[in-house]
Symmetry: C5
Amino acid sequence: MMRGMLVNCVAYEEGRKLGDIAVEDISDYVSRPGCFVWVALFDPTEAELALMAEEFGLHELAVEDARKGNQAPKIEEYGDTLFCVMRTVEVGPPPDDELLEGQMAVFVGKNYILSVRQKTQHGFVAVRARTEHEPELLKRGSGYVLYALMDAVVDRYFPVLDGLETKLENLEVAMFKRTPSRQSVEAFYSLKQDMMTLRHAVAPLAEVTSKLFGGRVPLVCVGLQEYYRDVFDHLMRLSAEIESMREMLQTAISVSLTLISITESEITKKLAAWGALITVPTLIAGVYGMNFHNIPELDWLFGYAYAIALMFGIDVVLWLRFRKAGWV
Amino acid sequence: MMRGMLVNCVAYEEGRKLGDIAVEDISDYVSRPGCFVWVALFDPTEAELALMAEEFGLHELAVEDARKGNQAPKIEEYGDTLFCVMRTVEVGPPPDDELLEGQMAVFVGKNYILSVRQKTQHGFVAVRARTEHEPELLKRGSGYVLYALMDAVVDRYFPVLDGLETKLENLEVAMFKRTPSRQSVEAFYSLKQDMMTLRHAVAPLAEVTSKLFGGRVPLVCVGLQEYYRDVFDHLMRLSAEIESMREMLQTAISVSLTLISITESEITKKLAAWGALITVPTLIAGVYGMNFHNIPELDWLFGYAYAIALMFGIDVVLWLRFRKAGWV
Amino acid sequence: MMRGMLVNCVAYEEGRKLGDIAVEDISDYVSRPGCFVWVALFDPTEAELALMAEEFGLHELAVEDARKGNQAPKIEEYGDTLFCVMRTVEVGPPPDDELLEGQMAVFVGKNYILSVRQKTQHGFVAVRARTEHEPELLKRGSGYVLYALMDAVVDRYFPVLDGLETKLENLEVAMFKRTPSRQSVEAFYSLKQDMMTLRHAVAPLAEVTSKLFGGRVPLVCVGLQEYYRDVFDHLMRLSAEIESMREMLQTAISVSLTLISITESEITKKLAAWGALITVPTLIAGVYGMNFHNIPELDWLFGYAYAIALMFGIDVVLWLRFRKAGWV
Amino acid sequence: MMRGMLVNCVAYEEGRKLGDIAVEDISDYVSRPGCFVWVALFDPTEAELALMAEEFGLHELAVEDARKGNQAPKIEEYGDTLFCVMRTVEVGPPPDDELLEGQMAVFVGKNYILSVRQKTQHGFVAVRARTEHEPELLKRGSGYVLYALMDAVVDRYFPVLDGLETKLENLEVAMFKRTPSRQSVEAFYSLKQDMMTLRHAVAPLAEVTSKLFGGRVPLVCVGLQEYYRDVFDHLMRLSAEIESMREMLQTAISVSLTLISITESEITKKLAAWGALITVPTLIAGVYGMNFHNIPELDWLFGYAYAIALMFGIDVVLWLRFRKAGWV
Amino acid sequence: MMRGMLVNCVAYEEGRKLGDIAVEDISDYVSRPGCFVWVALFDPTEAELALMAEEFGLHELAVEDARKGNQAPKIEEYGDTLFCVMRTVEVGPPPDDELLEGQMAVFVGKNYILSVRQKTQHGFVAVRARTEHEPELLKRGSGYVLYALMDAVVDRYFPVLDGLETKLENLEVAMFKRTPSRQSVEAFYSLKQDMMTLRHAVAPLAEVTSKLFGGRVPLVCVGLQEYYRDVFDHLMRLSAEIESMREMLQTAISVSLTLISITESEITKKLAAWGALITVPTLIAGVYGMNFHNIPELDWLFGYAYAIALMFGIDVVLWLRFRKAGWV
């Protein structure tokens, strides 16, 4: 897909598709009562955006935000129109499974929708197809299309979150199975980074979405409060689960440190035990290496065997005691 | 119990039971003034839910939430009706005592109650039985039944919390008795996970319950504020105790690390002491193993005994000093 | 004191004591204008409470809370009457100084006070005595008595907090004097538990007390706002000091870990120094224990003395260097 | 300065000083229109305070708070009058530089100011002097004097905070220069304690000061909102810097632990290196101390020299490798 | 640039520049309807500021704040005029890249702007130039100029934040590549300090900026809400990213400690392995250094070779096992 693409530009009347229209005709259709225009752009050029701004009469600050592609989620009113920015989050190719961030900006007027998608892999053509099959819903106008797009963006957060949760569970199991390693610590850290990415998409969007169904509601959203509240509920559930994961991850990192300290303790004990098993016979060898003239054992017929037996005997006793204490 | 069960479908009039009714007759009874229908489903099939949605005229988004069974707790108004989702938390079979989550969704209309239970072991038949014995309370209508169901769900959180608290207390006692082990750290972690599960059931429910007795109250709850406030009080108490446990658990984990460090220190000292008791005699043995021609002790009659005595003597002195210092 | 005791049941008129009255006469006195009844129960039986509920016309949910004795602090309005639950905190017998929790529930009507004390050692007879000596204050009615009881409960938190602060100070001094031990860590932990107990008594009470003097005030509290604000101020001061202690305790625990690590470091250095003082002479002994034919020193007249001197000399030099470096 | 001192008792008219007046005449001057009385007490006796309470008609609860001297900062309205409590914080004598807490309670009536200073070293005579030189400001009455006193108290927090910040900076520099020691950890802890003391003076005062310029303002403060907002700004700045210091201190303590662990690691490596430099020659000595009959080296003319050279050679090689690896 | 500079003093009419004017003429132009004066000062002397205060009629408290140069960000209304303080943050010269703080205070009247810049390197001449090229925007008056200045200050935070993020990323990569060192810990700490500096500029400014577009808006800002909301959005984005960095940094520091502990563990194991490779042959050498008369091996022809082979053989076996276990 090349940069600067007009994905779609369609006019509707009474919930039914009239057909694809030329960009220059947009303003004509928009001004026709009962008519509704839905345009979708993907990574648009500045010129394309400028043209749209002119056709729809968009505010310069909103156009600027749509162009930049790195805005935080927000919903703003410019007079009667609504400007909504969402972050898309997609899982990149294995083995890194890096999270890729994109942006979905939506301009919502009384009878038009302009969506500007930036840096996302997956499009939202399915949303248009599903919506076109439900003319009675499409008849509700731009507010319903905004809901359908938000719902689609938010629904895509769930598999991402599930992926992160699966990663966390695997790390937890691994953590208690073997001592945490450099790799597992790095995995925790990278999981935390992914979680922060997802949180930045979800948390601010939840906050601003709440303005679409409680108290004074923007004009285009009137009568659709139950739908926006549903999107909000999904966002709250995501938020709660992210917060929960975040706390567990925090705990997992400090538990890792504790487990490493326990392992360190165990290694120390193990080493000490094996050290004793070597140094004690060395002492005995040292004793019988002394040059005293009257060391009776040296003259024994089986003195050497006795010494070796003594070494082994003491080591066996020590080893049994160490094993009982769980040191070896 | 097989999937897709209609637990109960009963009509009441003036607080008294009229009798079980057929599902198809629900809409008739609901439209009869003074009549009240209470239906309970357990793990319903999609078809059953669709039938109920039609009979009671439920909103598609609410039905969707009731069907999915993994929603966060919430209370939402759809026109005059109320939709309430609660999480049930049950202790699984030993030895794991894993916490099992279920869902209880309740649709509350002016003169009907529809409860949809998902993945829970224990039913709420007792609630119905108790309520039927108090016609004067049942006369208050659907709002009172909602209270009775909420009260039952919330009351079941207390033994779960008590179980977690007992576990924490046992872990605390164990922590100070012997040095924290890999197992105890894992137990802390799994306790934290259980606590998070319980918290996710309790905290959001507390938040939404507060809307049932203060300020503008949904129609079906009018006149029952003191009852809902009581449920809220219970939820607040649970919340406070969970928060408290959470903080103690956090502290317990960092205290564990400290205790492990102390143990590590003690082991180091112990090892050093025993190391000295071995290496010092080894040095003496080394000295008398030197090949100098004029080492007078080597010619002594009891030179060997003297050397052994020297080794033992020094070790006894060292051992006494180490013991005084608490190193052995 | 046996379970189920009626501590006191007195009628007042115009701020003056009429005398003890029989429980059955309560409802008569309560209905007499200008009259005021003050009843105090201690660990009451269910029957006693039921009798009181009947005489005073109390709400079943409030009576249930008073009976149970493990409620969180709260202040609730039931129509014109007020129901207040407070936690009492007392220091148990030495050497444990365990904190003992009790409950003080107060029903406040227009012209009656019913206090229900559970599991507390110390009574509130002094409050009654002091109040009876100030008829002009007692004339203000049940609101003033509630204030007097709250003030008494809250005043008893201060010595408990002072006790915890003294413990913390002692632990702090000890922590920097000697390396934190298992015992001191356990003491920190148990101090934290006590602090949480106190916090659970104080923090929710502060929150609910604020409703007695700002904005719309319950009827029985009208004209006494300055008194309730005073109680609130005390609770806020307690809260602030508890929060502060909590933060210092948190810091103290992590500082403990740091101090233990420092000690561990010092021990390691000390051991290494003493290890060197043993192994270096051992090496020298080893060298002169070699069996080469031409080791000139072996033939020296004072070869042995020279070797011993060499060992000592090197050890003295090492010891001086280690001491300079602070390792021994 | 002896306990129970009347620092000053002066009457003003139209912003100009009338002169010192006797305590008994206070109520006369206060009731004279256009007149204004400013009294300053230092560590007053109960009798003095009781006299003032009578002359000015003060509320018993406020007088009690002024007497006790350990109240939290607060601003309370008693009818038309205002009661303000502030904490003074002063740096004690070196070398401890301990922070000393005092209290400044101010009673503000329509035409009087009564300040009660407790346990503070430095007085507020300069405030009076400066104010008397600006009759046009003094004419604004008691609200302006309250501002002047608050401003003076708050201004004295800044050098205290600067002192703590300097201490923190010194500790930070020291922390990265040499490994944190027991002393530096103790210094961090004591700095934290000082910070908490200052925070307890600043944070609650900021909170209550905000009530003097926004929304409904107490009568005596009307027309002076910009001045109180200025005091509030200073308190907010102090608060922000204290919070910042607190976070850095927290980080510094955990960084300390990390640095100690790094040092521990380095020491371990250093010891291991030196240990190897001793034990390897010991092994060689051991080999040539074996009693085999056919060890050719033993018969070499320069066998001994060769052995010593071998020991040194291996040690030099090891030492160079260890130095390259940064272990020695 | 010398201290106390008047950067610019220009009068505008109908969005067009009239020309530079003398300071004494300011008050004349300000009082002329349709006229607009824009003055920029850099590190002004007290005299200059006093002159401006007189010409524009500024409030003494605001002038004091502008003079001091160390205020926290704030926006205050003084009657119809607005006083805005912002912190500038600039990156100092390499290699330290220290963050340098400055202050930008702006007085905004109905038809004047006075900006007072303190301790900043880069001026805001470009803002004036750009604004002068858009007469239709400049016509909107002082509110638009305030927006342009705020936008310029806020835009300069982004490269600073990017710099900090790059530093954090480099530290993260380094952390997992090699074990965290003293230097990397110091870098984390200094990064945290920089982050706090930036946060102190951003967070309070975001808070106060929200008052310029929601609810009651100051007179000079009316009609420009969308612009101020844009500035606010940028500040919120900065805030969110700073918070995120702060949390990652916190995690990175505790992960560092964990990594160090892992390294410590690995070193311990490595040392133990090499220790065994030395002490085991030493034991063998000790055994054959014993002086028993009947040690058959001593008489073997290749006894010495056998002993050496035994030593090597055992070491090879041990080494292979250690390598398999990942200890060497």
